[in-house]
Subunit: 154 residues, 2 copies
């Protein structure tokens, strides 16, 4: 990226939305729980089995992600069993799809993994789906074509 | 997301590129270091000052990100000072831009932060830049329009 770096020494991003987001999803296990929620997991044992993280860690992450409004918890009850909780992505949680897919794309491009992966396809046309940078004028944007500036919000 | 979940019980993603990527950048401090590298920080004291993480943690993250090939380390020497290291994003590190920008966009959309933020603009046209999901046919894709399948690679 290029941009107005001259004043860069003078300020620190104290309330960066990326940093704030990372307060919620900064752990590997949080991303893996979200990945499985995208892939359709809803029950505690599914999250544990598919992420291969420990039960206490999975329980902590599910609680944190629920508290942060990324997952909704609903009771369910199988015949003859006690009531348990099911987890579903909220709109806020589902909106992390571009982040998760950008991470997958990167791992794929840089050969981080050599095995099977999920392929994501557009349900309307069947073409593969990727995360990419676009400007609001519709141009594809490369990392080297970005300029930085400060924005103030109300 | 929707998709062929019927066989979902039968497999676990053992070598998911997202999980592998998270082995490299799963900590809040790694993301913050990368953010500052995108914003033009190159020197140890810049990373420490701007991320407000401790010196030992910053040193550990810079070493890990360098070992993983996301940053290049180069010696520099200011007059009268000892030789120090400067860090620059490699192509592999710069290619995480869509992930970082997707995180920023999410925090911005969900009001995670109310203060100043960096605004990213396309250097060619000046329009704001965002991370978004597209299929290779060029359609904008919403999270609910994604189908899942398994892909095998050689």
């Amino acid at each position: 990226m290029t941009g107005p770096l001259a004043p860069r020494e003078d300020w620190i991003i104290e309330r960066c939305p990326m940093a704030a987001t990372l307060d919620i999803v900064s752990t590997r296990s949080a991303f893996l729980i979200l990945r499985e929620a995208f892939y359709g997991a809803t029950r505690f044992e599914q999250f544990v089995q598919r992420t291969q993280i420990s039960e206490p860690v999975a329980a902590a992450r599910l609680r944190e992600l629920t508290d942060a409004g990324l997952l909704d918890r609903e009771p369910y009850r199988d015949p003859g069993q006690r009531t348990r909780s099911e987890y579903h992505l909220t709109d806020k949680g589902a909106d992390l799809a571009p982040t998760l897919i950008a991470l997958m794309d990167w791992g794929d491009r840089w050969g981080i993994d050599g095995g099977a992966r999920i392929e994501l396809r557009h349900s309307y046309c069947g073409a593969p789906v990727h995360a990419e940078l676009r400007c609001t004028d519709g141009h594809e944007v490369q990392a080297g074509e970005i300029e930085l500036g400060l924005k103030r919000r109300a």
